[in-house]
């Protein structure tokens, strides 16, 4: 496929992106960004050093600068600290635009309502930690916005970077979107801010029965989702399309891609707290079993120590793409031959040295932050879990080939059964012949052991034949389904679908939100007061306060019945242990007596019935 054909294919299926009202940054040409950046290096134990000023950095020279100095972290720097005057201008501009935006964009305050106390505490600590850990400076978003508007004024248009490759029978169209800045945290109360942002979607095409390429699957990169959960069938109703163009709902500020409009709750779990989360989940599962409560599926499990963030993908803002508010510029084709794609492994924006890496800029489309090649780049088929899936046109052939293999295998198994059965019968004849002779007792025992062993082997073979028969029946039905033109199951591969959050499960939403906002502070203040006044029965007061808060929390979250039952059961267990400790031998004796009388009663009842009979 030549470049012209690749561009035609990219344009034929190019996506439509629906942004949220209030979004400030849109996909742009990465090369224009490079030209506006300076290149820096941060070596361990040394202050950052500028390798090349803005005037010298170009897409062609970028890789060369890096090749000269390999140690340390390379990064591009777009924003410079704003002067007081620039800050004032930007603030005025934002206020002018903000008055208009605020009328339509309203942040949902329900994120803390959806998680428990521990998560709220972790959320508070996470926000406090921003004061001490590496983060993008406060004026960076304003500076990036100013710089972005300057670039737009120079005539830059909305651009995507397209890559076409063939892998395992699939033709993959990758659409890479470069955003100058991710302002999810500073503008939309999200998890992080960082300079530069790369997002991507892939469309998977395969030749149909006429040999013409048709789209079969599409995958949107979205936060921590991976594999099968990323992709949807082209005919899946969840994939909104305008003609042949799939629609993306971009998260406000984060630019993550979603199939449906909505507000997505993203729970970020800190790796350091993972062991606590695991133990807590196991305790919760055991407790649910004790209380005979149904276990929720993994995707509905309430986060234990996760920090909740809302990603607003409302789709009520600018629409870029065919039929939208603004069109795409012709695609910029990228692959390994492009110098800045292959040669620059560094970060595309400020390196903040954030230990969680959330505030560090990402690397380019080909690389992870640590310089390794992204799986989405070197194995886009496996990245979306498509490596095990055959294109639709090849499915029938694959089914038939699989069926023939199974038939051959079954024939082989039957032959083995026949042979082993004949051998087994021979052994049984031998055993029958020598059984009455005492001097052959040892040989008889050996033959008996062999008979048992071979009989077991034949039973295993028969079981395998039965399983193969069942598999063949299923394959026959699947083949008939395909021959009748039936579609493959569209969503069975999805284990954890990201669905928009609904707030209607929370009772008295405003009260719940207010409670979620103040509860942690009130609880901590109550503890401090308790320790300050130090009452006589301190542990009991601690339990009482915790119980009170738990009941209030349960009331606003609609779990009062469950919590009351659990609380009472926990106290009953504690009291039962006390009684067991005090009256251990009495309890043992009582249980033995109860067992004895039950056996007596049961036996007498049986005896009475048998006499009547």
């Amino acid at each position: 496929m030549d470049e012209r054909q690749q561009c035609d294919l990219l344009q034929r299926y190019e996506p439509i992106i629906r942004f949220t009202h209030g979004e400030e940054f849109f996909p742009m040409d990465a090369e224009a960004y490079i030209r506006a950046c300076s290149l820096w290096i941060k070596r361990p134990g040394e202050p950052p050093q500028e390798l090349a000023p803005t005037s010298q950095v170009t897409p062609e020279t970028l890789a060369a600068f890096v090749a000269d100095s390999n140690s340390g972290v390379h990064y591009l720097k777009f924003t410079e600290p704003l002067s007081a005057a620039e800050m004032a201008v930007q603030a005025l501009r934002q206020r002018r635009e903000g008055e208009h935006a605020a009328a339509d964009f309203q942040i949902v305050k329900g994120r803390l309502v959806r998680v428990g106390y521990l998560s709220r505490v972790v959320d508070g600590l996470f926000r406090v930690a921003l004061l001490v850990r590496g983060r993008v400076p406060g004026d960076a978003a304003a500076a990036a916005s100013l710089g972005y508007h300057t670039l737009l004024a120079q005539g830059h248009r909305h651009v995507y970077h397209g890559r076409v490759l063939e892998e395992s029978g699939w033709t993959v169209l990758q659409y890479w979107f470069f955003y100058l800045y991710n302002n999810w945290r500073s503008r939309f109360s999200g998890a992080n801010d960082h300079e530069a942002d790369w997002e991507m979607i892939s469309i998977y095409l395969a030749p149909d029965s006429n040999g013409e390429l048709r789209p079969e699957w599409v995958a949107y990169a979205s936060h921590d989702y991976a594999g099968d959960d990323l992709r949807r069938h082209w005919r899946d109703p969840e994939v909104e399309k305008v003609g042949d163009h799939p629609v993306i709902y971009a998260g406000a500020g984060s630019h993550a891609a979603y199939f449906r409009a909505g507000e997505y709750l993203t729970n970020i779990e800190l790796n350091a707290l993972a062991p606590i989360t695991r133990v807590t989940r196991q305790v919760q599962r055991a407790w649910k079993r004790l209380m005979r409560e149904p276990e929720a599926p993994a995707e509905d499990a309430e986060p234990v120590l996760a920090i909740p963030f809302v990603d607003y993908a409302r789709g009520d803002g600018l629409v870029i793409g065919p039929g939208g508010d603004e069109p795409w510029a012709p695609p910029v084709r990228i692959d390994e031959t492009v110098a800045w794609v292959r040669g620059y492994r560094g970060l595309w924006g400020l390196y903040t040295q954030d230990p969680f890496a959330g505030e560090d800029a990402p690397a380019g489309p080909m690389f992870n932050r640590d310089g390794t090649v992204r799986r989405a780049w070197y194995d886009p088929v496996g990245w979306a879990g498509l490596d095990k899936v055959s294109p639709a046109a090849a499915a029938l052939h694959l089914v038939r080939r699989q069926r023939q293999q199974l038939v051959d295998h079954r024939t082989l198994l039957r032959a083995q059964v026949a042979q082993k059965t004949a051998e087994l019968r021979g052994l049984d004849v031998q055993a029958t012949a020598i059984r009455p002779q005492p001097h052959l007792r040892a040989l008889y025992a050996q033959i008996r052991r062999e008979i048992l062993q071979r009989s077991g082997a034949i039973s295993d073979l028969q079981a395998e034949i039965t399983a193969t028969d069942a598999l063949l029946e299923s394959l026959d039905r699947h083949e008939a389904h395909l021959l009748a033109g039936g579609s493959p199951p569209l969503r069975v591969h999805i284990d954890r679908a990201h669905t928009p959050a609904a707030l209607d499960t929370v009772q008295s939403r405003q009260v719940a939100e207010l409670w979620a906002a103040i509860s942690v502070t009130v609880l901590l203040v109550a503890f401090v007061l308790l320790f300050a006044f130090n009452p006589r029965f301190l542990p009991v007061w601690l339990v009482a306060i915790l119980a009170l808060f738990t009941f209030i929390e349960a009331s606003v979250r609609g779990t009062f019945t469950r919590v009351v039952g659990s609380f009472a059961t926990a106290l009953a267990i504690a009291a039962a242990l006390v009684l067991l400790y005090e009256f251990f031998w009495w309890v043992v004796g009582g249980m033995i007596l109860a067992l004895a009388f039950y056996i007596l009663w049961d036996n007498l009842r049986e005896l009475t019935r048998s006499r009547r009979g």
């Binding site: 009482a544 009062f560 019945t561 106290l571 009953a572 504690a574 006390v578």
Partner: protein, 169 residues
């Protein structure tokens, strides 16, 4: 298409009526055990008050410690008697609310009992043997109220027409 109804779809004969006995049994068992618990508390309090030896108290200007302890033990039970009686009334009027209040009351009884078990080493507020009886009673009530039968009170009470009409008809 097979039009023959499944056994579950066949209407019941007129003389068979759906019963709400199970719900009523659960309600009355709950009320009964709570009543029994209130009677135990009240009876114990009355016994303690009745068996106080008032003579030394009238002889001395200040009542002796033994009299005070016995009075404290008796009076400490009275709030629980009142609370359990409230639970019984709520159970009869609003069974669902009664179930919640009942469990909260039993939790409170256990919480106080455990606290006394740990701290009241001098048996000022409670007699140890009686305390264990209270704990055992509360444990048994919690077990019943958390059982499938006890949890029936969380469901809306069956209406009269459901009990008498043909449910499958």
């Amino acid at each position: 298409m097979n039009e023959t109804p499944t056994p579950q779809q066949v209407p019941l004969p007129g003389f068979i009526r759906r019963s709400n006995h199970q719900y009523r049994w659960s309600l009355w068992i709950t009320v009964s055990v709570l009543l029994l618990q209130a009677m135990v508390f009240a009876g114990t309090a009355a016994f303690l008050l009745a068996t106080i030896d008032w003579e030394p108290a009238s002889v001395f200007e200040e009542p002796p410690v033994a009299v005070l302890v016995q009075m404290q033990q008796a009076l400490a039970l009275l709030p629980f008697v009142a609370l359990v009686l409230v639970c019984i009334i709520v159970c009869l009027v609003r069974p669902r609310a009664g179930w919640h209040l009942g469990l909260l009351t039993e939790s409170l009884i256990l919480l106080v009992a455990l606290q006394l078990y740990v701290y009241d080493r001098d048996h000022v507020l409670s007699e140890r043997s009686l305390l264990f009886v209270y704990m055992l009673g509360a444990i048994l009530i919690i077990i019943f109220m958390n059982s499938p039968e006890g949890r029936l009170l969380l469901d809306p009470p069956p209406h009269a027409h459901e009990t008498d009409a043909h449910p499958h008809g």
